[in-house]
Amino acid sequence: MSGKEFFINRYEQLGWKFVEATPRQAIRINLINAKGKNLEERLLNAGVSLEKIPFLESGYWVSESRVSVGATAEYLLGLYSIQEAAAQIPATLFTSLKGKKVLDACAAPGGKTVQLADLMGNSGLIVALDVSKKRLAPLANHLERCHVSNTIVYQLDARQASKLKIKFDRILVDAPCSGNFVGDKNWFRRRTMADVERNARLQREILAEAAACLSEDGEIVYSTCSLEPEENEVNMDWAVRHLHLQIEEINCHGQEGLTTIFGKKLDGSVARCRRIWPGETQGFFVCKLKQVGKR
């Protein structure tokens, strides 16, 4: 159960006609650092033209660039981050972040951690975890470059987050996933359903641990860059049935989550999730969860 034809056939059954997609390069302005600094004008002078992304507050497409956007002085000074457009969505879905205790359960390389810190105005605290030691150095560099001051980083498997003995107000689970074919020309060759199922299991374990670390009125935002429903809608259906969580309405870019997967009917609330098929952005999935009775 693998190969391009196999996966394309699955996507068609889910209602999407396969097209090769080349997502546009995007940046996100770090509002704390860039405030009052005329960043757009400065980048234009440096040869970088930006175009506002209509569905994001601080996101811009790079419409033209004579220089590498990852090597400008403005980038090195932390005025902006390079962050794919769809990947900018999850952190914006939390109700309020200022002064909160936030867990970024699978944080490296830190794009969303920095975004959370920016949205929090460096207030409260973020605990950022990653299981891989070699991924912690890029995360730390990202935090230093963007002058993040409210974050503590541990090398820890998200499935052991309760060892920290902290109840979090907000938890971001940007789960390790199978990814998608956009930007990875070998994806169809490398991926099998066994990978998808293994990742889906891991994601459920992380979600269960996140639910155990959530404060009473807390919120979890779950996201992946996988197109496979087993890692997305099916997992959300599982969370509703097993973790005493409910799916919240969100208002963001993307289509409703699928409620029928290959003939299997899921909980109707799964439609509140958002699925983004590849196009201007990469493929993506996002969902917001709260404990039952706390909407």
């Binding site: 400065r42 002085a73 090195l76 605290l125 912690l136 560099n141 002058h147 001051s149 503590i152 090398q155």
Partner: protein, 151 residues
């Protein structure tokens, strides 16, 4: 801190909030202090590290120092670009100077927007009449280091 004095700055940090983690120094806020365990990898504001007895400041620390009185040179746009590529600063590229201008002093290097790009060592007295094409500040550390670290 000794390094702050080196660049003509004053810095008073609450020692209770500064943590030394295997030679790397971090400034924590109150909320972080309450939850921090010993085994963290990174926390709060990274201040710098001590290696072989020598202190290497972080860019966060340099930016903090640049907000107050310190030895500073402000350089023009082209020199700013060359500086973050690791190059030294010619006298003619310096738009303004604050604090010590003495040879051998350390100085923060800022761009025309007042953002700290790094620091360097004054290699000829900035008071003297020197030729414009003479190196005035030798690059010690610049923000281009973020790119070099990733290689």
């Amino acid at each position: 801190m000794k390094f702050a004095l080196q660049v003509g700055a004053q810095l008073a940090l609450n020692a209770d909030f500064v943590v030394n983690k295997a030679g790397r120094y971090f400034l924590l806020n109150e909320a972080l202090c309450k939850v921090a365990r010993q085994d963290f990898y990174y926390a709060g504001t990274y201040l710098g590290k001590v290696k072989n007895g020598k202190f290497f400041p972080s860019f966060n620390l340099l930016a903090m120092l640049a907000k107050g009185d310190a030895n500073k040179v402000i350089i023009d746009g082209q020199a700013a670009w060359l500086f973050i590529c690791g190059r030294d600063i010619f006298r003619r590229s310096i738009i303004a100077m604050y604090g010590s201008r003495k040879k051998g002093a350390h100085t923060l290097v800022l761009n025309e927007f007042g953002e700290c790009l790094g620091f360097g060592k004054i290699v000829c007295s900035l008071d003297e009449k020197v030729r414009g094409d003479e190196v005035a500040v030798k690059n010690i550390l610049d923000v281009g280091d973020f790119l070099r670290r990733e290689i």
